[in-house]
Symmetry: C2
């Protein structure tokens, strides 16, 4: 019923970013996140669970995975703990494939709204932005090189299942991002504290791409130079800036409310 040494060695190696990217696999832990994955139809290859550590909600989840023919394996409490990135054992951990994706291919789907995370290095901020993108019905998230690695457990946790609901294309070079978006007729809006206030005359028609940078200086130069509009959230002049995930989320909310108003 338990794992072999080789299996454990392989699975725990996925705590390492390089190994995740090489193997195209990552681990996700905990009932809540895995419920989101199941409900979104982003299915794991294998689910590992420790029966003594899950409650009836966890049992229901395991049943759900079995119904869609996902392999489930029983593991010991000790094994379960080895597979997790946190201190406490979540009772349930699953092995997922990293979905290969490509920007040109994704843009053929013509998502109406796209979020570009330009060098967002903080995993919590990146995850929160992905969560908000799913909430505000953005159809695609792009990360440029220098952003946090998207299958990092901190990103997945902060995304609260958003990662399973919105396609994320990672590590796209800035110039390629700008070129492909422009070819597909997107208007590029760069979040920029030196831009024009949202709400001032600014056309919002057709497909839009919102570019959000990190808070550290120096980011956003390449993509920013390609932007059609630079927009800012009006804040007190005594305050330097908002948190990057907050600023991006407010702008996603704002684009959504503009679209509602047009209907």
């Amino acid at each position: 019923l338990s794992l072999t040494k080789t299996e454990i060695k392989y699975l725990t190696s996925l705590h390492n970013k390089k190994q995740r990217l090489r193997e195209k696999r990552f681990l996700v832990e905990g009932t809540r996140l895995l419920e989101e994955a199941l409900s979104a139809g982003y299915l794991p290859l294998t689910v590992f669970c420790c029966p003594s550590e899950i409650d009836s909600r966890g049992e229901k989840l395991i049943d759900g995975f079995r119904q869609v023919r996902v392999e489930t394996k029983t593991v010991s409490s000790r094994e379960c703990k080895l597979l997790t990135s946190t201190v406490s054992s979540p009772g349930i951990v699953a092995l997922f494939p990293i979905r290969e994706s490509n920007l040109s291919w994704q843009l053929r789907e013509k998502p109406q709204r796209v979020l570009v995370c330009d060098k967002v290095g903080d995993p919590g901020n990146l995850g929160t932005l992905i969560r908000s993108a799913a909430a505000f019905r953005f159809g695609l998230v792009i990360t440029t090189g220098g952003s946090a690695e998207v299958t990092n457990p901190k990103v997945i946790r902060a995304s609260m299942g958003g990662f399973f609901r919105v396609p994320v294309v990672v590590d796209v070079p800035e110039t390629e991002t700008a070129n492909l978006l422009k070819q597909s007729k997107y208007s590029l809006y760069q979040a920029d504290i030196k831009g024009s206030d949202v709400g001032t005359a600014m056309p919002i028609t057709g497909r839009i791409a919102l570019i959000v940078g990190s808070e550290t200086a120096g980011s956003g130069k390449i993509l920013g130079g390609q932007a059609d509009y630079r927009i800012r959230i009006p804040i007190s002049d005594k305050v330097e800036s908002l948190n990057a995930a907050v600023a991006g989320s407010i702008l996603m909310f704002w684009f959504g409310s503009k679209e509602e108003a047009k209907k």
Copy 2:
């Protein structure tokens, strides 16, 4: 030029929450945060700096503190590291008084907009909410019991100086919060995923208090029961909720934009 054993023992004891609350003192580290404190006029009692570890920006900051007659002390690199909560030495650390505050007293100032953080336990979320409150010109932040401790270094860091700019009254019991706000003629708006969409008919006149809860179930019952309005941010029905700091910040932005529209 250096600290005595007793001084070091006292200062390092402030890494502990109980000790901070007993002594009414807390430490803040790093050039950027201390620049904010100086600029906001929230002055420390003593600034400790390690000359070999600060750059010209740090030197300018030290000069700034001296000009307003704040005591500065030179410490060794090792001492500086002892005073910090992070791994790397920030070169500069300051000892601040916790400002005693009281809700009745603060409400006499009649701030137009008040943010209530109801059991926001995550220090990063609480700090981010304080940062956004300062940015959106809220005049007061209240935390209820069960919220993160506001002088926790993680809160101060996430607030990015917001803590120095907006008064924060901590640990107010929920019933007292509701009663005092109502006596002072505030309308209470509870952020609630089961509430009415923002933008639907809902009067926004006079003084408002926005209540933001944590994301865990069970919070917000007492204050929520006292709210005049329950408001929600419209999101995809496939997504359960937004991050608490994001939701609170979007609502603060929204109240601000409503006020602008009235002008």
